[in-house]
Symmetry: C2
Subunit: 260 residues, 2 copies
């Protein structure tokens, strides 16, 4: 059985895409079979893993338009055992078209369930990157997921964004996806010993208690640089603090999952 | 005649709200009359200027629902000559309701024009903060604006986000707002002398040429800290590099505007 995790926070620039790519890489290094689905028209996942636009045959757009089988949207990476379903939107017409089709919020859940039930490919983890918004694409991802991983940038907290997200999770739980849980709150851009990060840890603990994950992702210039190299940070410099943090995040999540 | 500038970039966390608040403060320090309109349901503007939820009577929600006069949505700040129209969305129901009403994309332009034509209040500058997305709220802001200021974070460029934005600006120009121009591209999180920032400057110049503003906003911890103090950075520490940068941004924009 695959574990499906949505990576979400409507606040922009908190490290959603960076977490999706680097957690996937760390799980793959731990020999898990991983699928990444990109639900953000910005398409940062494909850029960040080096999947060039000209090599994209189909993607999230076709999941909603239903013109191809989900299998056609899957692109294997050549350097790690990770598959990617890119968000293949390259013009504002397509983006408007996708947001109209995404009103059918249950679409991703339906397509994913029927694909997984065929048993053609099985994954240990499916990670879904979401846009910085609470729109139909994000809600569609929440409907399809078992849990939500919430990156939280240390610093001035967009607490309001979190309240909006928690309310939406509640609504989704009451409607179609009663089992949706919070996988954890992940502190990102953490700078040990600074007043800002210490205050953020304290505030996060007060608000979320045990949901705050032990692993904290440090502010690490190699994480930003890895995006230029279009590779997960572990493949750019395994000794970087960002690489070690995402490897320990994978370990922490693996230790939480009860053996199937 | 007011100059209306939308601050937009669909990439999250690049400094849109920080630029809106601190440019407004710098223009007010230069004795200009400024209005900020928040079109982002995250409501970061109100938080960042210290406008508490309990003091908000009406805002962007009522602009679209039409239940009050636009004058009712205006909240003057007590420490600088700045008025704010907050994005007063506090639940996911209201947020869904606002995004439905925002389909009437021309609404903001119409409401703003008819209000300004009454001459009750006149502003030198109206700055519109937008959400990290190319949704109806952002497009509505572009329809109502004279120009777009594009914050661009130094580092890994979300070039795709820019392409989407430029395409949308083109569409808006061809439809209702033929005069929409690019006010400029503003480099943010700039770190003098680092490889990443040097490369970003070079890439921005290649892509945007003269549209790249001379002022660059440095990465400055006081800018992040000012958000905790709920004040523009110039009022927290006028000697901080972030304060000086936004004051010089105001000067650069003022020198570009031909006297009315
Ligand atoms: N821990 C970190 N240390 C340093 N830089 C980081 C870190 N995490 C992310 N970054 C950089 O910060 C920027 C924002 O990260 P990212 O794009 O992953 O955020 P996001 O939440 O996905 O943004 P969006 O809301 O636009 O989807 C990127 O340039 C990324 O390379
Ligand atoms: N030049 C800077 N130096 C340091 N920190 C900054 C700078 N500009 C912004 N910040 C901080 O970075 C974070 C993101 O900035 P901000 O919220 O203004 O971006 P945004 O583009 O409005 O985000 P969103 O896409 O969520 O609306 C905030 O915590 C802010 O305080
Ligand atoms: Mg992202
Ligand atoms: Mg903002």
């Amino acid at each position: 059985m695959s574990k499906i995790i949505a990576i979400a926070n409507p606040k922009g620039g908190v490290g959603k895409t960076t977490t999706t790519i680097n957690l996937a890489a760390s799980l793959a290094i731990a020999e898990k079979r991983v699928l990444i689905i990109d639900m953000d028209p910005a398409g940062s996942v494909s850029y960040g893993v080096g999947l060039a636009p000209e090599n994209i045959r189909a993607g999230t757009f076709e999941i909603f338009s239903g013109t191809v089988n989900l299998l056609e949207t899957i692109h294997p990476l050549d350097y790690l055992n990770i598959d990617v379903i890119p968000c293949n939107v390259f013009s504002s017409e397509q983006e408007i078209r996708l947001s109209e089709m995404a009103k059918n919020r249950i679409r991703l859940k339906r397509q994913l369930m029927s694909f997984l039930n065929t048993g053609k490919i099985s994954y240990d983890y499916i990670l879904i990157d979401t846009p910085p918004s609470l729109n139909d694409l994000t809600v569609g991802a929440l409907l399809a997921s078992d849990s939500v991983l919430i990156p939280l940038q240390c610093g001035y907290f967009a607490l309001k964004a979190l309240q909006r997200l928690m309310q939406m999770i509640e609504r989704v739980r009451k409607s179609v996806n009663t089992e949706l849980s919070v996988e954890g709150v992940l502190l990102t851009f953490y700078e040990k010993g600074t007043r800002t990060s210490m205050r953020s840890v304290q505030q996060a603990m007060e608000l979320f208690g045990d949901l705050v994950l032990r692993t904290r992702i440090p502010k690490n210039v190699t994480l930003g640089y890895a995006a230029y190299e279009k590779k997960p940070v572990a493949l750019v410099d395994i000794s970087a603090s960002g690489s070690r943090a995402y490897l320990s995040l994978a370990e922490e999540l693996l230790s939480k999952t009860k053996p199937a």
